[in-house]
Amino acid sequence: MSSLQGYVDRERLMETLYVILSPVLYIDRVLVILQDGRVIVGTLAGYDQKSNVVLSDSKERVYSTDEPVEEIPLGLYLVKGDQIVLIGEIDSEKDASTDLSDVRAEPLPAIRY
């Protein structure tokens, strides 16, 4: 039993390392736009046939016209596929070179059928 526990701990350690390192190394960072206009940036941890996605270490980017972009940490997020508008792969260099505190923009409009 003790040997099994060892695996669990190592797995957890790797997970922790991954969560710490992925924002620094920008591994598989994606940008997800939701139907209500929210923008979430995170690491794509998984997806399925119905385009449900799991984002680890995710942050919501809140845009506003008179304040700089605010990044709200959300952590591990499961987004239902039917709420998703778009999933984009982030060019990490370009993302790192844009200073979000300079960006001012209207929030994206919600989907209207």
């Binding site: 980017r61 778009l86 984009g88 982030i90 409009p109």
Partner: protein, 102 residues
């Protein structure tokens, strides 16, 4: 199914996708599936000053259910052929529905 086939012939063409949140995205159509989910490469947002949200995004997956229009190059589709295929398709539907005899 017909429209799915049409989109499959349009791969590697540059298209403009208009979404139901009024976002216009130009890009090279890379793939499409049965739900008309679309993958675009080399994307460009039409009004980047107003919508800088996706400035670092190079390629994307768009959910079919949020697409309003896809603008396609006129010479990329044979309109006559498409018309005929559509007509054949609708006749096929009528045949299977007893209320509307052929």
């Amino acid at each position: 199914m017909l429209i799915f086939s049409v989109f499959k012939t349009l791969t590697d063409q540059t298209v403009i996708v208009e979404l139901k949140n009024d976002l216009l995205i130009t890009g090279v159509l890379k793939s499409v599936d049965q739900f008309l989910n679309i993958r675009l490469d080399n994307i460009q947002i039409s009004d980047e000053v107003r919508h800088p949200h996706m400035i670092a995004v190079k390629n994307c997956f768009i959910r079919g259910s949020v697409v309003r229009y896809v603008q396609i190059p006129a010479d990329a589709v044979d309109t006559q052929l498409l018309e005929d295929a559509t007509r054949r398709g609708s006749r096929f539907c009528y045949k299977r529905c007893p209320k509307f005899p052929d």
